[in-house]
């Protein structure tokens, strides 16, 4: 147990060192990701300025979201995605399978999924180091858009949802990557996943805007990647403590367990099929 913790720590440390090598490129890529946030804020501003529906207080409202609530929702969804998005994970696994680099995971006494997990944590940690400043600035500037201050237990539930969002995102993308044991090229599958993710996670619009489709989406794991953390902060119906949030988090934990089992099965079956082409 202790030895395994040490190994994971060294994997994490080595990955961190690697990520800091190309610091300029990484910092640039991270900062560029904030541009869509700004454009999205302006886009929602334009949409709301053209809307005519008003609520009881006389504010413009679309599907029960005022402009401020929408911006708050969007920023929270982006915060959730900072945990749950896994750029390059599935395509990296597929590349390793295709070019034979996966050999190191199969011939050394290490667990590939565990190794990739710690590698991803390092990736995220470096991302947070660089992104915390800009995120804090945006949240500070938009602080008046957030409806309420979180109490301790709700804050803990949010942290739990973000961490579980990370695990859910990691396991879904790893599973897509493992499909490459069957189909060497997974870029189309990944593209479809990205599209679904964008729509069904609540990244594009809140899931409660989807109407009857939203009821189906409730049964999928995608909502945990963006919508759920935002809904917790905004206190949406079904996402408050004592009002359904506990069950939501429990269902998410079940999804994580199921995805983990699926990953293990896919890996075990995949390596049996593996032909180790490419020398």
């Amino acid at each position: 147990m202790l030895a395994s913790t040490r190994t994971n720590w060294v994997i994490l440390k080595t990955c961190l060192e690697e990520r800091f090598i190309y610091r300029a490129d990484f910092a640039f890529a991270t900062l560029v990701r904030f541009l869509p946030i700004i454009t999205q804020v302006f886009l929602w501003g334009a949409i709301y300025s053209g809307a005519t529906a008003k609520n009881e207080s006389g504010e413009t409202e679309l599907n029960n979201y005022t402009y401020h609530e929408m911006i708050a929702y969007y920023l929270l969804a982006m915060l959730a995605r900072a945990f749950s998005s896994m750029p390059g994970l599935a395509s990296g696994i597929a590349r390793d399978v295709r070019d034979g680099t996966i050999k190191k995971y199969l011939t050394q006494p290490i667990d590939m999924l565990g190794y990739l997990f710690w590698h991803r944590i390092a990736h995220k940690l470096v991302y947070y180091v660089i992104a915390t400043g800009p995120f804090a600035l945006i949240f500070f500037l938009c602080r008046s858009y957030f409806p309420r201050a979180l109490d301790g237990p709700t804050f803990l539930a949010l942290v739990l949802a973000l961490v579980m969002g990370f695990l859910t995102g990691f396991l879904i993308e790893a599973l897509i990557g493992l499909v490459s044991f069957w189909f060497l090229e997974v870029s189309s599958l990944l593209f479809i996943y990205m599209m679904l993710n964008y729509f069904l996670s609540g990244h594009m619009i809140p899931l409660d805007w989807l109407g009857p489709v939203g009821e189906w989406v409730e049964f999928l794991p995608f909502k945990y990647l963006a919508y759920v953390p935002a809904a917790i902060v905004l206190g949406k119906q079904g996402y408050v403590l004592g009002g359904g949030l506990e069950q939501q988090l429990l269902i998410e934990a079940t999804w994580i367990a199921a995805l983990l089992i699926l990953n293990r099965i896919a890996f075990a079956r995949g390596v049996r099929r593996y032909g180790a082409f490419g020398g």
Binding site: E17, I21, K103, I110, V271, Y274
Partner: protein, 333 residues
């Protein structure tokens, strides 16, 4: 108990057979034809502990597939193998801690980090004691003459230096078995020699079992006493290296140095003249004709020096592989 024991081991790949042309490609979207490729076709062999064995064969013969099977990288289609008492494709950690697979064309080190960072990671992965780790790093970097380079990013190293670092990473945990797939591929003569010398010394010192594939016969001659020749997934020869020339070459070479400055003109009647550097000449003659040809040459010419030698291993192997290839075509993609 042998270090490696292989019984009737086979690996059949199912390979998509694409026909030529656009129409065939469109048809392939709905109906695909697959072809079984017998990469390894029921082979048997044993390797004793402390042996260093060469695994020879042309491209696509099944050498690398065999190494992949023995390292547990792929599952066999049939047959059995035990390596150091383990079934390789079960991939038990206890087995994975006892062997190393080095592929000359695959990089295992972290590309952007100095090799010492990869070594440290290996230390944890293989649970190497700190004192032992320091001792081994010192020993291996000294032997391979790369001590000053361990702090340099791997991407900045030359191919030869990188391969030496790969060998260090592979040997840090003192494996009992080393599987080497083309360890000197692409290296310059100096680096090749260094790697050869190191492997020879290390194997002798540690008495580890080594299975080596290489297209460079110089590697093989320098390192191994025994060779297994595999072609079309089948073992064609398993025995001492020197037997290969006897078995596969029907010719010998007579090297003659004539007494004068010139060479006689009608030497073709004695055998195939394949190299002339007056007054020296080399003749290739059928093995059974050696005594008669020697007598005839000595009777007829004034000769200063004459010797009969085997053809170089490289030449014999090249001929053998070319003949096999022409007989049946290449087996693997």
């Amino acid at each position: 108990m042998p270090a490696i024991s292989v019984r009737n081991l086979s690996k059949i790949y199912r390979v998509f057979r694409k026909r030529e042309g656009l129409l065939a490609s469109i048809r392939g979207l709905f109906h695909r034809e697959y072809e079984p490729i017998h990469a390894v076709d029921g082979i048997d062999f044993e390797v004793q502990r402390g042996e260093m064995v060469a695994f020879l064969g042309p491209n696509g013969a099944g050498k690398t597939t065999t190494l992949k099977l023995l390292s547990g990288l792929i599952f066999p289609t049939g047959g059995e193998a035990t390596v150091l008492g383990h079934v390789p494709w079960k991939r038990e950690n206890a087995y994975r801690r006892r062997f190393s697979l080095v592929m000359g064309q695959k990089n295992q080190l972290w590309w952007d980090l100095p090799a010492q960072e990869s070594f440290r990671l290996h230390k944890e992965i293989y649970r190497i004691d700190s004192d032992q780790f320091d001792r081994r790093i010192q020993e291996l970097t000294d032997l391979l003459e790369v001590r000053d380079l361990v702090g340099q990013p791997v991407r900045e190293l030359s191919l030869g230096e990188r391969m030496r670092m790969e060998l260090i990473a592979a040997l840090l945990h003192s494996p009992d078995l080393l599987l080497l797939d083309e360890p000197t591929i692409g290296l310059d003569v100096v680096s090749q020699r260094k790697v050869q010398q190191f492997l020879k010394y290390y194997q002798k010192e540690r008495q580890i079992t080594v299975l080596l594939t290489s297209h460079y016969m110089k590697d093989v001659e320098a390192l191994c006493q025994r060779a297994i020749i595999i072609n079309e997934g089948l073992i064609k020869h398993d025995g001492p290296l020197e037997e290969i020339v006897d078995r596969f070459s029907q010719h010998k070479v007579i090297e003659i140095q004539f007494a004068g400055a010139n060479i006689p003109e009608d030497l073709d009647s004695f055998g195939e003249v394949f190299e002339t550097q007056p007054p020296r000449v080399k003749l290739r003659i059928p093995r059974q004709d050696v005594p008669a040809t020697l007598n005839a040459l000595l009777d007829r010419f004034t000769i200063e020096d004459i010797s009969v030698v085997d053809r170089p291993l490289e030449e014999v192997m090249a001929e053998f592989f070319t003949d096999s290839h022409n007989d049946s075509g290449t087996r693997l993609p």
